[in-house]
């Protein structure tokens, strides 16, 4: 992947994580979350905001990078000369020029 692709991945992931962050903490007060964990987890408000954003950003980075990877490395859909695309294999009646494979008898 090119440097520009990585910049796009980083920026899109940041925008998504930021949107997710505002929606999440618009609905949830981290102070209310202290008793909500399976294990004792009282980390304070600042660290809660920081960790939540980091987690969201890493998740969005993974999604954006994977999407970029899938598009860049896969056969280009719909394009006759897409990367990795081979011509459609030729098929014909098995018995054509093979008289011993007559009809369905080839099994």
């Amino acid at each position: 992947m090119r440097q520009r692709d990585w910049a796009v991945v980083l920026w899109i992931a940041f925008l998504s994580a930021a949107s997710g962050f505002f929606v999440l903490f618009g609905l949830i007060d981290p102070l209310d979350m202290i008793g909500a964990w399976a294990h004792k987890f009282d980390i304070g408000v600042r660290l809660a905001y920081g960790l939540a954003f980091t987690f969201l950003y890493l998740l969005c980075l993974l999604a954006a990078a994977l999407t970029m990877f899938m598009i860049r490395t896969g056969p280009a859909r719909g394009h006759v000369e897409g990367k990795g695309r081979r011509p459609i294999p030729e098929v014909h009646d098995p018995s054509q020029s093979n008289p011993d494979l007559d009809g369905e008898d080839w099994r």
Binding site: K40, H79, V80, R86, E90, P94, L101, W106
Partner: protein, 458 residues
């Protein structure tokens, strides 16, 4: 380029529909077996009971996961994470040893696509009949066949969606809700969503999921080496290919063993020609091996023109099974499995959270005693009811009172008030106390937790 030219020489190519021909043979039999075992487990497991409850149930509202005799609580999710890591490592290990075994035999996409293909063949016939049917104009017969196929596909998808929801909601009750049209909103949503996903992926998208959507297919090359099992065409033996009759002498005609029947292409579920070499689209289902072996039998040639082999074997070298990456995967896998088994067996089926009352630091009682009040959340994670003894460890001055009587039913969560009292002269400031919880009946389960006990500073 003029507009007319642009239209006539379009660079757009629509994905051609693949009509895989039916195939029989050793590997087709193995795949059928895998379909029956895996889908059998999927469709039957939620109907089986274990200790009076559903054998596999991910009960989200109650936040408890039941897997056979084990119950996982939210605190045990580390075990489920470990299980996922083990499943992932197993996949890496199997891929490094045997290539795309997962893709060819066990991936849900392969397994459900196989079933959808069976239904399609059953209604519309094998490859040639399906090609003809699709190319023919609409008629009563075509409408009947297409409608029957869609009805079967949709029915199977709905059953699959119902079973999926049955892993999260007790399936017998769910069945009753469906029959009496009293299905809840979320259950309806997930049933339809999973049905739609099954129908779309296995009925419509099929091989395109493996070719364009599956990231695992792209990552696998990182796990492959020259000793990994792949499906390959023996080019040295097969070329030059060409038609002939059985009585023809290959050497006289200057031909290899490939008779160019194209059956290997016709049976391929992803529509590739394996003779072009190892391709990312190949899911290693081995349908081409089965059909080629049958053709070789028919021609009285040696089997194995297309076979499971390794790059090393094809180039005349010896295949090495024990390689550093295999050993690393195996050691990691065994260690994690051992760790998981040990830690699940060592689980303490009792959880206690002792939280100090935040409203008051301490209370001074009339007889020169200091009292701290705590809220106790006690969880009986065992499948039997228990009575508990609660005591302060290593501190004879302290007395502990609990109300109500600490007694919990199987898998019950209880809240209690705990009061710990100590003489005023027993200490100053903050002290750490260890509180032990133990069952009064068999089996003995005990857990010790620490809490802070506050005394006056003066």
């Amino acid at each position: 380029m003029s507009h007319a030219q642009d239209e006539s020489s379009s660079l757009y190519r629509k994905e051609p529909k693949v009509y895989p021909r039916d195939v029989t043979g050793t590997f087709a039999g193995l795949r059928k077996l895998a379909v029956f075992v895996l889908l059998g487990l999927y469709y039957i497991l939620p109907w089986l009971n274990w200790d009076g409850r559903q054998s596999v149930l991910f009960d989200l509202p109650a936040r408890k996961f039941y897997i056979l005799n084990l119950t996982f609580w939210p605190q045990d999710f580390i075990f489920l994470t470990l299980m996922l890591i083990i499943a992932g490592l197993t996949l890496f290990f199997v891929t490094a040893v045997a290539g795309r075994l997962w893709c060819g035999y066990a991936c849900p996409q392969t397994v459900w696509t196989e079933v959808y293909l069976w239904m399609e063949r059953w209604v519309e016939g094998d490859r040639n009949k399906r090609i003809k049917l699709d190319a023919s104009p609409w008629s009563a017969g075509k409408i009947l066949r297409k409608t029957s196929k869609q009805a079967l596909w949709i029915g199977f998808a709905l059953w699959t969606g119902f079973t999926f929801v049955g892993f999260f909601t007790p399936i017998r009750g769910l069945g009753q809700s469906v029959v009496s049209f009293q299905l809840g909103g979320w259950e309806t949503f997930w049933l339809l969503f999973y049905s739609f996903a099954t129908y779309g992926n296995a009925g419509i998208l099929r091989e395109q999921v493996c070719k364009y959507m599956c990231p695992y297919a792209r990552f696998q090359s990182a796990m492959f080496d020259k000793d990994t099992l792949v499906i390959a065409y023996d080019e040295a033996r097969g070329e030059p290919r060409g038609g002939r009759s059985k009585s023809d002498n290959r050497a006289d005609k200057g031909l290899g063993d490939c008779i160019g029947c194209t059956l290997c292409v016709q049976v391929c579920p992803t529509g590739i020609d394996i003779r072009e070499g190892l391709q990312i689209e190949c899911i290693a289902c081995a349908a081409c091996i089965d059909v080629c072996d049958q053709v070789m039998d028919k021609m009285d040639y040696k089997r194995g023109l297309i076979s499971y082999t390794t790059e090393h074997k094809l180039s005349g070298h010896k295949t090495q099974l024990l390689r550093p990456r295999i050993l690393v995967y195996a050691i990691l896998l065994l260690s994690l499995l051992a760790g998981l088994t040990w830690s699940v067996n060592q689980r303490v089926l009792l959880r206690a959270d002792l939280l100090r009352d935040r409203n008051a630091l301490y209370r001074e009682l009339p007889d020169e005693m200091i009292e701290n009040v705590y809220t106790l959340k006690l969880i009986n994670m065992d499948s039997k009811p228990h009575r508990y003894k609660i005591e302060v460890l290593n501190n004879e001055n302290m007395t502990l009172f609990v109300s109500p009587e600490p007694e919990l039913q199987a898998e019950e969560v209880g809240n209690f008030i705990v009061r710990i009292q100590a003489p005023k002269n027993a200490g100053r400031g903050s002290m750490e106390v260890d509180v032990r919880f133990s069952t009064l009946d068999e089996p003995v389960i005990e857990r010790t937790v620490s809490a802070r006990f506050l005394m006056p500073f003066d």
